[in-house]
């Protein structure tokens, strides 16, 4: 059976697992390095060890929060022009209008609106105006701007104007990094435009980072296929990820939930991922994270990606304990837990100390917390469980008790009695659930298209869309007998007099 490696490049740690089928052969954890390459190399070295030759690895899957962190921390973003094809519509709100000021400063004030775009039924709002594009190109040249985000009204229905604008710009500026909105997101112009601009502004970082991933593999002589995991828990090729870094934005939580599902065999339940600083609680439905139905904010910018529906709170193993145990977090000693926590010989009372003092966790030196007041431990335990129970209540959809999977280094904080849980799973390898989620990720095929119902039936159209999505999954490397349809969405086009529907079908399949 083939060997695959899953790696999770987080803000603090780079985790890796070596897997054969569903079995974890070995795992490793190292600090994330600035250039990402060294951290990945260290992990790969550990995983291969003495006994495994680099040539035996079939595929490497990397999940990363690198691009999300770049946006949140406002670093490595390049000046980007935002072009909206919309006039005479759209003028009431200019591009990137609602961005936080420091984000606007990162990409600069280079915003344009030109004539063009489409109506909901594919008609042109107005013709695309080439002289207007010329003016924009002149501006880009004069101001040496190397990234451009193009967003056309109703581009998900008709990408024609975006594509024509792209060819025009590439003819004049062959080196320009262009992101087209129809490649990025769904209907809802402002959110899609925001995501498109974020993607364009991440272009150089994406090239460097993916090159760094490849270099780490090259240095160790691993010639396996390299995949990057995306928001929905499926894989994209390294080349695709290089062009669409925003598609990785929430792959971290997605991977850890997928990993939790794989480790326990649970298809439905709640996954609680507790790290050093934060806790993410999400819901598994049929083995995949339930998606959020509202706009998701990335570093203060509204987007409309399909992201897992998560409840996040500031509670983790390093959360600082205050008010005699009534309050924990949101501040945390973070990665310094091994110096600062009482159980490790430090001088700060943190959540982990409470769990060790109470006797339901076993890390560090228990004698160092023997003097902690019993009342504080009791209150602390109650606070931890109240905080987590509130998250469970928010995320679940019925009052029935649900199975719960605990993963992440901070999951030792949770005592076995948890309100709302039917049973609690603490799988082996809970520390590297995210890397496991990356390793088991599947490939997908997707069709998203407007179909006319003239002279055919809804059933026939759905079947055609499904077959095409299956074929796309095969093309991406999926084994035919593993392909499943995971999502069918029919979007009636309101106001359309003739009968037409937009259909999205997603299939997933395994690589081997």
């Amino acid at each position: 059976m083939s060997l695959r490696i899953g790696i999770d490049v987080g803000g603090t740690n780079t985790d890796g697992v070596l897997m054969q089928g569903g079995e974890v052969i070995s795992w490793a954890k190292h600090g994330t390095t600035h250039d990402v390459t060294d951290g990945i190399q260290a992990v790969l070295r550990d995983l291969l060890g003495e006994s495994i030759a680099p040539g035996e690895i079939d595929s490497v899957m990397i999940g990363t929060t690198h691009f999300t962190n770049a946006v949140v921390q406002r670093r490595d973003l390049v000046p980007t022009a935002a072009l909206r094809i919309c006039l005479p519509a759209g003028e009431a709100i200019p591009p990137l209008y609602d961005w936080p000021e420091d984000m606007q400063a990162c990409v600069g004030n280079h915003r344009f609106m030109v004539h063009g775009g489409h109506e909901f039924d594919g008609r042109e709002i107005s013709a695309l105006d080439e002289p207007e594009l010329t003016q924009v190109a002149d501006y880009l040249i004069a101001n040496q701007i190397e990234s451009l985000a193009i967003t056309g009204v109703f581009a998900p229905v008709s990408p024609d104007h975006e594509e024509r604008a792209t060819s025009y710009f590439l003819e004049r500026l062959p080196e320009l990094n262009i992101t087209e909105s129809h490649q990025i997101g769904r209907l809802s112009l402002l959110e899609r435009e925001n995501a498109t601009a974020l993607n364009a502004s991440l272009a150089p970082l994406a090239k460097r980072t993916v090159a760094g991933f490849k270099r780490a593999l090259d240095v160790l002589g691993i010639s396996a296929s390299l995949y990057i995991t995306q928001n929905d828990g499926t894989l994209m090729s390294a080349e695709f990820a290089e062009r669409y870094p925003v598609l990785t934005f929430s792959s971290g939580p997605t991977n850890s939930m997928r990993g939790a599902a794989a480790l326990t065999g649970l298809q439905d339940g709640i996954v609680i991922d507790i790290g050093g600083t934060t806790t993410d609680v999400g819901m598994l439905v049929a083995g995949f994270p339930r998606e959020a139905s509202f706009a998701i904010d990335i570093g203060g910018v509204r987007t409309n990606f399909r992201m897992p529906d998560l409840v996040s709170i500031g509670l983790g193993g390093g959360s600082i304990v205050r008010d005699g145990g009534l309050r924990l977090g949101p501040d945390s000693v973070g990665y310094e837990i091994r110096e600062k926590a009482l159980v490790f010989g430090g001088d700060t009372l943190v959540a982990t100390d409470i769990a060790v003092a109470g006797g339901w966790a076993d890390v560090g030196d228990p004698s160092l917390v023997a003097s902690v007041d019993e009342a504080i431990v009791k209150r602390g335990r109650r606070t931890i469980h109240e905080m987590i129970s509130r998250c469970i209540d928010t995320i679940r959809t019925s009052s029935a008790a649900v199975p719960i999977v605990l993963v992440g280094g901070g999951s030792i904080l949770v005592h076995d009695e948890l309100a709302g849980a039917s049973d609690i799973h603490r799988p082996d390898h809970y520390l590297v659930a995210n890397a496991i989620g990356a390793a088991i990720a599947q490939v997908s095929g997707e069709v998203d298209q407007v179909f006319s119902l003239e002279g055919t039936t809804r059933q026939q159209v759905l079947l055609a869309a499904e077959n095409e999505a299956r074929a796309k999954a095969v093309l991406a490397g999926a084994r035919e007998d593993t392909i499943e349809v995971v999502e069918i969405e029919e979007i009636p086009l309101p106001y359309l007099p003739s009968s037409a529907i937009r259909i999205r079908v997603k299939t997933v399949g395994s690589l081997d």
Partner: protein
Amino acid sequence: MWTIGYDDLESIAVGAGILGTGGGGNPYIGKLMTRRCLDDGARIQVVQPDDVPDEATCASVGGMGAPTVSIEKIQRGDEPLVALRALEQFTGKKVGYLVPWEIGGTNSMRPLVQAAKSGLPVVDADAMGRAFPELQMCTYSIYGVPGAPAAISDVRGDVALFPNISTDQLLERYARAVTIEMGGSAGIASPLMSGADMKRTVIPGTLTFARDLGAAVRQARETLADPVQAVLDVCNGQSLFRGQDRLRRTPCRQGILPR
């Protein structure tokens, strides 16, 4: 009389969202449109219905169309005003006051944008007190102020005028048909009425109510208090039950999403 500032705008958006009771579209886009007007230095004055003289001419303005279209095709901004100007030209009357017709959802904001662009004051009132799907359901219609003459306008500035329509139900149907051809969203001006008729038919104080409701919820969120209790306090309401929405379906019929 009061003037709408940035903070009021945030509160109105939250309050209008609540008053939309699940319909009327998200006030977010309208809020950004209005904020942009404030950035340009516009003043939006709110007057009480009783401050409007009986013989003054008032007009209701707003947007018509599917929320699914309006989140994608952002407006040019002054469509309802273009419709209003056409209506003024046709009737020979000069409008002195704008009146919202729907305080719930995104239509709470459209009159504010038109007020900013025209300098006309907005009356602190509306004709629904929340969000309703159709024209004939508003209080103007119920208390006998006819919807026609009415005008609607698209992003190009094209205008369709309805000088004479026998019932408001038919006006709704014809206006919707034109809206579809206009690309699924349009600005509308209807009805034109005297100050006396306005005062007789509107639900007074709803703009201030939306603001106060929103302000209370924002305050509750900031102080980590219960926002539901904050709403109850402002409305003098009572909580009947608390539950969780488990399944929501939005089928689409006759070209419009039901609310």
